[in-house]
């Protein structure tokens, strides 16, 4: 699935729920099911700044696609991380750089999926895009 298809999927999944509690429940479920990050990647250098909870984001590049894994000590933040990883992992740096984040406004949880300091959403997206730029540059140099 390309990034756009994934984000459309995400939006329709949340559309299934009318009630905010159900939307959060779903986000929490997503958080609980986030693939576990290897403990060795939960290091200071992988910590994302600007979140009230601790968020680790790890990226690996195989020369073509970027693989992201993440973890957080807050479940809602993990749910958000899950959505971002589902969207951006296993894609090329260029695809990531070209994508938009509009879909987050359409999920209906904007108070918490708006880029405020506490949920670290903006920081996570920024970090993902920075990795994409770094790997693209590295790719160009090789």
């Amino acid at each position: 699935m390309n990034i756009e298809e994934t984000t459309s999927s995400i939006v329709s999944e949340f559309d299934n729920f009318d009630d905010w509690m159900d939307k959060y429940n779903y986000l929490i479920e997503l958080g609980k099911s986030l693939p576990l990050i290897d403990d060795k990647y939960k290091v200071e250098s992988n910590l994302i700044e600007g979140c009230q909870s601790r968020v680790w984001l790890h990226a690996e590049f195989d020369g073509h696609l970027i693989h992201f894994t993440a973890d957080s000590d807050a479940v809602i933040t993990k749910g958000i991380a899950n959505l971002l990883i589902r969207t951006y992992s296993e894609h090329t740096p260029q695809e990531i750089l070209d994508s938009s984040t509009e879909f987050l406004n359409e999920i209906g949880l904007t108070q918490h999926l708006s880029p405020t300091r506490s949920n670290g959403l903006l920081s996570m997206i920024k970090q993902i895009k920075m990795y994409a730029l770094a790997f693209k540059t590295k790719q160009a140099m090789e």
Binding site: M21, Y24, Q52, S53, A74, I76, H112, N119
Partner: protein, 412 residues
Amino acid sequence: MPGSDYISTHINEIRAGFPILQTKVYDKPLVYFDNAATSQKPQVVIDALVNYYTTLNSNVHRGVHFLSQQATTAFEDVREKIRRFINARHRHEIIYTRGCTESINLVAGTWGRANIRTGDEILITTFEHHSNLVPWQMLCEEKGARLIVCPLLPDGSLDMDALERLMGPRTRLLSVTHISNSLGTINPVHEITRLAHQKGIVVLIDGAQALSHETVDVQEIGCDFYAFSAHKVYGPMGIGGLYGREELLNAMPPYQGGGEMIKRVTFEKTFYNELPFKFEAGTPNVGDVIAFGAALDYVSDLGIEAIARRENYLLNYATEALKKDRHIRIVGEAPRKASLISFNIDQIHSFDAGTIIDRFGIAVRTGTHCTQPLMDSLGLSGTIRASFAFYNTIEEIDRLIEAIGKVEELFL
């Protein structure tokens, strides 16, 4: 002054006087439990501010015209009001600042710069809000002085034995909070000041949380400096003050330079103005000063003792209710507390809990509450903090308990 039950028997009328309490968030009536962050304002305070700009606005101290005289009188009347409110000896011992943080920075930047030398020590406590920590850290770095931190006891009260031991021969200043914004602990500031003065240590008290909860009598406490903010005591943001003993203030160099704080200016030399103007450079925030005065009137009319009684009632009710929930751990159980409770729900990150509680229209604060070192010392990433004012109700507390129940259902 009304009788002791006045607030409870007139609670609806009182709440009606605070327009924002009628707001809805997410279509639910607002439950405002973040008073330690900032208090809500009664209509009279809002009116005072608007009235100032509508009828009185003028620059102060300089003009001969009617409006400027009126504005100056109103502005200086509030200074006297503050003097009475905290029982300072002289009105010129009250310096207007932008708030508690600026007050502390003023002392660090003037008294501190002039008096702290290499090898000196500044003593603070583990409670301290970043505003009563960072200015001292910065000063110590600049001067090669040492920042010493007094620990707490397990129940969240100050370790007074440790405090005494840490007051050493090089300790020049003790800066301590009157009431902890994270744990609610009320510190014995009178006793603390007595101990410090025995050893010739200058004392600054961070009174940000105290003016709204306790009678503050700076002469009785005996402290050298007392810092406070209007917005914590039903006044506007952007204004606060520093009380300083006259002898100290006179000896301190000025803080900011500019208009107002001067007596005579030439390019070669400038002669500074007398107190309090020496420390009030530039056009002051006259409107907010006047609104601050209206807030102090409001509090005085209701009576601090009545307010404290009401708040204790709410605190006890909330504490009992939270204690019934076996998943909840209350953080900070000092014998003397102001009306706030920090707590955590088993295994649930405070951010997760706060996010859901918010959706019920309930405003609590989560995280480190600008006291990261305190949280580190407790091994916590943060807490949920509910802080009550006299206009809160037990029905609102019931709603919080209900919301916590939903949080537990969702996460546990």
